[in-house]
């Protein structure tokens, strides 16, 4: 077993174990923290595959942004711990199993039949190439998005501002 396999299995465990924990946990704050592990694991898999930029973006956006937002959402709305209530009636097992098996079959057969190829050579770093593209061939969309973000930010600030009816700020 070479080091890549070791890292892969470690990352896969990091994705799967918290994923199960999220499903079986009942405390919503615990769920949000378990999600952190899954997202870290996915990011690690990206990095392992040589997608350095994608891996770091995953950390920035999902862990730095979305996960923190989730926790903030919980913190600002509820003061006491939130528990997910179990259904009073036991859910039916058969339809769930059939749909689950069907989905699993589709995914597995698609993955096995995809005809994967090995990319020859060492993976190169992508951040530099992406940066060069963003500042040359894709400069217009890149800059227009920044204007769009600015405009939407202004609009969001306006909508969120207090005291609208009299036009006060």
């Amino acid at each position: 077993m070479n080091w890549e396999a070791v890292v892969f299995w470690a990352m896969a465990t990091l994705v799967l174990v918290p994923a199960f924990a999220i499903v079986f946990s009942r405390n919503i704050v615990h769920m949000a923290f378990w999600l952190l592990g899954t997202l870290m694991g996915v990011s690690g898999l990206y990095l392992l595959l040589g997608a350095d930029f994608l891996g770091m973006t995953q950390i920035f956006v999902y862990i730095g942004g979305i996960n923190v937002l989730l926790l903030f959402g919980i913190m600002l709305t509820r003061s006491e711990p939130v528990y997910v209530r179990r259904l009073a009636k036991r859910p039916k097992l058969a339809p769930g199993l059939i749909i689950g098996a069907f989905t699993a079959f589709t995914l597995v057969s698609a993955l096995l039949g995809a005809g994967w190829r090995n990319v020859p050579g060492e993976p190169t770093e992508t951040a530099g190439i992406l940066g060069a593209f963003l500042l040359s061939e894709y400069i217009l969309p890149f800059e227009i998005i920044s204007v769009l973000l600015l405009v939407v930010l202004i609009g969001a600030a306006y909508i969120a501002r207090r005291g609208s009816r009299e036009g006060a700020e």
């Binding site: 190439i129 894709y138 969309p141 202004i154 969001a156 609208s164």
Partner: protein, 529 residues
Amino acid sequence: MFFLQTVAPTGGVTSNEVFDRYPDLVSSIGTDMGAFLPELVLCLGIVWVIFVDLFSKRQDSRRPGWHALGVLGLSLLTLVLGGFPSAEEAGSLFHGMVVRDGFAVFMKLLLTIGTAICVPMVMSHKDLQGRRMGEFYGLLLGSLLGMYMMASARNLLMFFMGIEFASYTSYLLTGYLKGDRKAAEGGVKYVIYGSVASGIMVYGLSILYGLTGSLDVGAVAQALIVTKASPSLLIITALLCFAGFAYKISAFPLHFWAPDVYEGAPMPFTAFLSVVSKAAGFAILIRFVVAFGAPGADGQALTLASGKVLDLDWPQILAVLAMFTMTIGNLAALWQNNFKRLLAYSSIAHAGYLLMGVAAVVPRIGAEGDPGWQPVLFYLVVYLFMNLGAFYIAQIVAARTGTEELPGFAGLGKRAPVLAVGLFLFMISLIGLPPTGGFTGKWQLLKAAWENGLHTLVLVAVTNTVISVYYYARIIKLMFLDQGDGEGYVLPVGQRTAVVLMVVPILWLGLFMDSTVHLIRSLSFAVIG
């Protein structure tokens, strides 16, 4: 129209070359900036109006409006000074992201003029007085910037971004009156329906990318011919993409958002949505249809937009959609009592007439010679003035009577003859009767459809015109034959001038249409091949 000019697809730089070719790639950006001045003016203008607003008193809510007008004027000036690029000058900018051709400049001029007419309406609107308006104008200019992108996009990425840019700003402006329940309802509905429509469109665009591995419209079109993708998949893809455009032009089956949004939005913005936004939607639809109908490498027209695929006839699909759009719009308009809702349904009906023009042209794309977009563009010009004029007068009346319902117009002929006569002419034009631009415009659309064999569609359109007489004439009857209460009033000089300024183009286009027709015919159109 048009002098077709083939523009080579961009190089498609591979990731191995990007560092070596980087200096070349960057050096062209500077020269492209010169042709990008109108957009740059708008970008700076967005920040400028908000900046001005910071340094003015709240009671002074008109001041950013004047500055917004200045920005629009400057943008208009740069457009005019740039002129209409001839067929030889037409080309693409920023490595094939946007095109610069006569069609794009023409549409940008139209969009800018439409926005410039809406700004004074905003400045005089009752509910928008005495509040901070910098954000409103900033968003309005932003929306226009997005529509500039829609008019000139040639990369699927820019198609999507242009539509999203124009949409986000529109959502925010619809709900600008925050305390108002109807505005909130309209804004929320607009966001939800709009996101769904964009989502469907992105799905279509992503299939195109998946099939061809490129985002450049020209490269996609060429690759589709070479790869011979399954026709049924192409039809589905085209329909998915069409969802996004249909939403912007409020065509069947994505028209249902229009009445609630139009009713909830502040009147000047309703006018903006019904005219400027719709014109941008048609610009991008035309751009898309032409790109995928351009002659391929072996001279055969692409099946995505033109010609028959399976047993489905793409022009026929468009024709059926046009039929449904105009009929639904007109029938629903019959029952409306709110002026904004009435014009909302009327604008759906007009989207149907315009779509008829598109359906008539589609089979001729890719053939030799002028495919004949001219009726559609001409009608957009007429529609701009007549619809904005109707909204402008309605806003003045609503401010006086305090209601946007139709009975507010009763007896207007006695109370304010100038307004009544102006609105009468706009209604005549919306019906499509001489001597107005509405007549010449609709006549050209019907003629184009008839000559291209869409006889059923023409009959449906004529029937629809007859139906529409009922609800337009109802307003005319209210104004001149019914008794209304309320004092007569004398219009301020500014308003009177504005009404006259809107009426003149309608009559001009109705009586002397040749110069405009000639201008539109001479526009260049960059076909990507």
